[in-house]
């Protein structure tokens, strides 16, 4: 009898607390023109095997970006047998091995919802247990429904889990609001986040080289023309792809905004020298050396040596002129 009463009180308390709070998916979490609901129904579903939510979630997002990837292929790349799970860092690193840019979104609900509005599913990290007794889990958010105040997920063995936004946010906050999006080269994140995006592109470049990243940097330079790394990345990707003429143009545009950018002066000098502009290359590298700090100084000195070793002034082509 006493238990029955307690249960009724618990129910009343639950209902009351539900009634008291407003919707989690309130208007201020969205862009003004966002729809009432989003359901990326084309996102595939890979039912997870025991402990394999990491590979399953990552395969889901990679497949939707247009690759043929299975969880079985990803398991040896992300799974840690002794931990019975996968680390966030390795999820990102594994995605980097494909022709895609893994990008961690800003840790906030509007950034996640904006990605869904842009048609991209988000791999999320949740704590489905308690703070002191955590159960870490990867799932993929594929939509939201504002009327129901709920999110749609591919999670575990559930192809279409509807989770109340309140519960989702609680579990997502347990995972420090970590969300991963798979970008195709040239695709930009929904959030205005040049630093995060460029860090992601540079991270990919550091493991797989600049060859496939020309589009990624070009898109960034167009969207954030005042951003140093975006401009530099585009110029350097052009240079690495062998388009020296376009690279020279981009470095010069960058140097108008950042006149003493030593790395840009060094690379411009190298590109000029390789195009037969010896005297222009020398004056450029000397401008850099005049301002160079310690870590880059040896590189500029090496560039200067290489310019001096290049064949002496041919008649300088038109590209040398500023």
């Amino acid at each position: 009898m006493r238990r029955g009463a307690a249960a009724i009180w618990a129910l009343i308390w639950l209902l009351a607390s539900c009634a008291n709070r407003g919707p989690v998916l309130s208007d201020d979490q969205f862009e003004p023109d966002a729809p009432a609901s989003v359901d990326l129904s084309g996102v595939p579903f890979f039912p997870q095997e025991t402990f394999q939510c990491g590979p399953a979630a990552l395969a889901t997002a990679l497949s939707y970006s247009g690759l043929e990837v299975t969880p079985q292929e990803l398991t040896p790349r992300v799974y840690l047998p002794a931990k019975s799970g996968s680390l966030q860092v390795e999820m990102v690193a594994a995605a980097r091995r494909y022709d895609r840019i893994p990008y961690v979104i800003p840790a906030a609900l509007p950034a996640l919802l904006a990605e869904l509005d842009s048609g991209r599913p988000v791999v999320v990290f949740q704590n489905l247990g308690l703070a002191d007794l955590p159960l870490w889990h990867f799932a993929v958010v594929v939509g939201y429904a504002r009327p129901e105040d709920a999110l749609l997920l591919r999670s575990g063995r559930d192809e279409r889990e509807t989770m109340s936004a309140y519960n989702f946010v609680r579990t997502w906050e347990g995972g420090q609001r970590w969300g991963l999006v798979i970008l195709r080269p040239g695709e930009l994140p929904a959030a205005d986040d040049p630093d995060g995006y460029l860090r992601a592109v540079a991270a990919k470049e550091s493991v797989s080289g600049p060859a496939t990243l020309l589009e990624a940097y070009r898109a960034a330079a167009l969207r954030w023309p005042d951003n140093l790394v975006a401009r530099f990345g585009y110029a350097h990707a052009l240079q690495a792809s062998g388009d020296l003429r376009a690279a020279v143009e981009q470095y010069r545009a960058l140097l108008v905004q950042h006149p003493d950018q030593i790395a840009a002066l060094n690379n411009l000098a190298d590109a000029l020298s390789r195009q037969g502009c010896r005297s222009e290359a020398l004056s450029t590298v000397d401008r850099g050396l005049a301002a160079a700090r310690d870590p880059l100084r040896p590189v500029l000195e090496q560039t200067r040596q290489e310019i001096l070793a290049a064949p002496a002034d041919r008649s300088e082509p038109a590209v040398c002129a500023r």
Partner: protein
């Protein structure tokens, strides 16, 4: 007893680590790439390349200890950036690993209920 393949991969791995010790790669010998620029701009994340090469070897060994296939461990470490390597080197044991959800929760809830019933703290009726 290591297989020949693992030895070959390890040799390649060390070559990559050592190449990274130099400041420059890509287009020309003396061209500065974007990852280096990002590292220079973000002084807080500056990790020396020598430190990073040593840390890479530590992380590779740790992955193998956690049950990763030795060949896969080499490739997995190569996919990490310097700062990710530094993070794993310091915190691998502590970092949360996303595994399952559902059924462990069920097991825990059932265990707790069984214990409560068994100790008489919870009764039917």
């Amino acid at each position: 007893m290591r297989s020949a393949t693992v030895n070959r991969l390890l040799a390649g791995f060390l070559v990559v680590c050592l190449t990274n010790l130099g400041l420059v790669h890509s287009a020309g010998a003396a061209v500065i790439d974007t990852p280096l620029l990002v590292q220079l701009e973000d002084r807080t994340a500056a990790v020396s390349r020598i430190q990073s090469s040593l840390a890479r070897e530590d992380v590779r060994k740790a992955l193998v200890q956690l049950g990763v296939d030795p060949e896969q461990a080499v490739e997995r470490v190569l996919a990490l950036t310097d700062s990710e390597v530094a993070q794993l080197d310091q915190q691998l044991a502590k970092l949360p690993a996303g595994g399952d959800g559902g059924w462990i929760l069920l097991v825990i809830v059932l265990t707790v209920l069984i214990v409560l019933f068994a100790t008489g703290k919870l009764k039917f009726n």
